[in-house]
């Protein structure tokens, strides 16, 4: 990746184009996404990451530990948020080039656990859109609130993406 220093700003438009970002979308919430938490996908996630603790793939073990069903791992909220035909639709809406997007930061706050069979409602809000180096680097920050079928807050998470040069 090419990271320009500050002396490169004269040439920024030549290298990176001059697409404008739609900052009017800051603060905008998108329609809720309702996702059923699939036990099969939780088992598949556990296999993909080499998980050995059975509460993440075995219903009996999870229930024995006091969970409703198989426990979703700590990062699973982002998987649920991607359960749409185009996970980049919001980034595209603000004017980012989806083929150049890098995920540069992710954080979660946790409340109630998410388990297999839950129905999770996710509401995403664009919280910031900004540029650095005269538009050479474009950023979008969004925050998602995930609530379960009992109306309980499960997790709130924040994602920052960058359109790379």
């Amino acid at each position: 990746m090419y990271w320009p220093d500050d002396t490169d700003t004269l040439h920024a438009e030549k290298y990176y184009g001059n697409a404008m970002l739609d900052k009017t979308l800051i603060g905008k919430s998108f329609p809720p996404l309702v996702v059923d938490v699939d036990r099969w996908q939780l088992k598949f996630f556990a296999k993909a990451v080499g998980e050995e603790n059975p509460i993440y793939f075995d219903e009996v073990a999870a229930i024995a530990e006091g969970y409703r069903s198989i426990l979703a791992p700590p990062t699973y909220g982002v998987t649920l948020g991607c359960a749409v035909p185009d996970p980049f639709s919001r980034a595209k809406a603000v004017g980012l080039d989806a083929t150049k997007i890098l995920h540069i930061a992710q954080s979660f706050e946790y409340f109630e656990p998410i388990c297999g069979g839950d129905q999770i409602t996710l509401v995403a809000t664009i919280t910031d859109v900004f540029e650095k180096r005269r538009g050479a680097f474009k950023f979008m920050v969004e925050e998602t609130v995930a609530t379960n079928q009992l109306g309980q807050l499960t997790t709130r998470f924040r994602q920052t993406v960058l359109e790379r040069a």
């Binding site: 791992p73 700590p74 998987t79 890098l102 946790y110």
Partner: protein, 141 residues
């Protein structure tokens, strides 16, 4: 899982490190299905090269999932209050990720005992790939 007690943990204590196997193309194909992130830069070498990368590269969320395993091997998942990372450098197929954690602060708040952790994942050359922080509840005192 061994129960962690607040008074038995000193600032500077290291969590047991977690070394994952080398990340293969198969791992990335599985993680597309596990994450719902089917961006071809993670599985299609032709696409990745055309987009300017050296080869397919790893989903940041896979690195973060590994870091999550470091935490959930140490405390129950429901003890995690917060968990955040920055993806500092791209991880490529074939890289081997090792996750490290260190206790950097302790606090007791209304009978809740909290440890603050600093997190770091490195590749086989020791290059830093991901840094972060987490707060976890432990038994007390």
């Amino acid at each position: 899982m061994k129960e962690i007690f607040f008074d038995q943990i000193a600032i500077g204590e290291q969590l047991p490190s977690l070394m994952k196997p080398p990340i293969t193309r198969t791992t990335l194909a599985y993680f597309c299905g596990a994450s719902n992130d089917h961006n071809p830069v993670h599985v299609d070498s032709d696409f990745a090269r055309a987009a300017g990368a050296d080869d397919v590269f790893v989903h940041g969320m896979l690195d973060m999932a590994y870091m999550g395993q470091l935490l959930t091997a140490w405390v129950p998942q429901t003890s995690i209050i917060s968990f955040g990372v920055k993806f500092g450098a791209i991880v490529y197929v074939g890289d081997t990720i090792t996750c490290h954690g260190e206790v950097i602060d302790k606090a007791e708040n209304d009978g809740v005992y909290i440890l603050k952790l600093k997190l770091r994942a490195v590749d086989q050359n020791g290059e830093s790939k991901l840094t972060g922080e987490a707060q976890v509840r432990v038994s007390g005192p």
